[in-house]
Subunit: 302 residues, 2 copies
């Protein structure tokens, strides 16, 4: 049995368009409607035949839905929720895909009082953006975290969990505040650091931009992938999850200072100990199917 | 015409064994000898038939060579050079593959006075180590930087350049001090940051190790690849290139503090501006063939 039969996707970028493709692939009888604030994206979505019906407004896209997923930048969630409020069916489940959850839960419950809101976060993505960047297998074997509020509708949680499982994801449930702390370290801090080092490398006087690019295979290029992620999305994430990000950043800075000191004072043992410990983490990530075991992420060498 | 006909490789890990395989593939008539300080590695190299002759000492491996490449951790270069000094043919070219060059040049010229020394650095590698991790196409389209001293034998530079070109590399020549500055930003700083963040994430109390691993696809996993690199090699690199690494680290820390401040004070424009700028760097890296254009480095999504 299908958990939902009429799904509405608001925001047809990488994640929204991937959900549409995955629904088409895994639950082909589901009726899909969609909307995007950008006329160009709506045109592209039509040309790609991403959903059955592209509406002319967010409200028109949800009138008939039993699941509405808001796939917009975190900072735009409240405004989009207000746009659909008048047209939202009372029994529809409203969810999202945002990378910070406590603030989103607040914004949704304020904009949609009385609605059945179950926030969610599929921990998946690529550095590419837009409706053409999506693909049906994006969520395969990735985790999707649901953060229902205390006392949330258990049946709705179960249906949303079943929906994401059918798209290939492994579903977990946790408290929104804990989600925000976990993602601060597994996603937000890495992005912040990647953006920073790419900026640092771009601003040097003694080393040219051309040299940075030519010799990037020494390690730098690994950072450029996530530093190519969508600027609007990430600006919103850092502002929305400020406290947890600043806490993780503080810890990282302390650890970096300790390594800096070890280098300055020729403490090779301290360096060696850390470098040995970090190998085990990657091994676990590969064992648990969260990364490619081939060297260099499986990049081509020919 | 072949630039060298009898090549000796001292150190048969990832890089040494990749050179051996690439020579076999591209210059099959070259006589290859090799040595590794580890008896286990020598046994594995024999079993893999990496070279024609595995010697019982570093000296015995070079007696007949016209090119000797030292593929050992930077901190071991001086000792290995002293081991081969008595057996080194006077007309042999001595080179290396180390990731820092000014210190290596000093160590080699002290240990081998009068020898023809042309230091080199193929900017290529993977997170894996050991003789089984190597492969013939590792250097394909990657840069190899030669750092000959002022007044170095021009014919030797030309022959070594031709050797690396035949292995598939793009050869550049620069001053050792400039090399060390360039690599500090394109390779050493990225490794240091990757090791640090993986350590930071491992040490949290509020977020479990298991959560870090499960949700690593949010960005963290990208850092774990280079944080799984060889601990001995990297300890040596940071100590050998201390000044340039500390300089780059200082700049990175300043830039990170500026972003931290932007987050704390809700300066979304500053974040957006940086995040927009960094996208262009990745585009250039891909255009110049130094990374995979497929999303997620071409990782499998199925």
């Amino acid at each position: 049995m299908l958990p939902f039969s009429r799904v509405s996707i608001i925001g047809l970028g990488l994640i929204g368009s991937s959900i549409a493709r995955a629904v088409r692939a895994q639950m082909p009888t589901v009726a899909l409607s969609g909307y995007d604030a950008s006329p160009e994206v709506r045109e592209t979505a039509k040309a790609l035949d991403l959903v059955d019906d592209i509406a002319d407004s967010a409200g028109a896209a949800v009138t008939d839905a039993d699941l509405v997923i808001l796939c917009v930048p975190v900072g735009a969630i409240g405004a989009v929720a207000r746009e659909i409020a008048a047209d939202l069916p009372a029994d529809a489940v409203v969810s999202d895909v945002g990378s910070s959850k406590a603030g989103i839960a607040r914004a949704l419950s304020e904009a949609l009082p009385g609605a059945i809101v179950i926030p969610a976060h599929p921990v998946a993505g690529t550095e590419n953006s837009g409706p053409e960047a999506g693909f049906a297998s994006l969520f395969q074997d990735r985790y999707c975290i649901l953060t229902p509020a205390d006392g949330a509708d258990a049946v709705a949680v179960e249906r949303l969990s079943s929906f994401w499982t059918k798209l290939g994801a492994r579903v977990e449930t946790m408290d929104a505040a804990h989600h925000d702390l976990v993602l601060a370290v597994t996603s937000h801090l890495p992005h912040l650091i990647a953006y920073t080092i790419v900026g640092t490398a771009s601003d040097l006087e003694a080393v040219t931009q051309s040299e940075v690019i030519k010799y990037s295979a020494g390690g730098f290029r690994d950072f450029t992938r996530i530093a190519a992620s969508d600027p609007t999305m990430w600006r919103d994430v850092f502002l929305a999850n400020k406290d947890a990000v600043l806490e993780m950043l503080q810890r990282f800075s302390e650890d970096l200072s300790a390594l800096q000191r070890a280098i300055r004072w020729d403490d090779g043992d301290a360096l060696f100990d850390l470098f040995t410990r970090t190998r085990a983490v990657r091994r676990s990530i590969i064992e648990q199917g969260q990364d490619d075991s081939r060297p260099d992420f499986g990049r081509s060498h020919d």
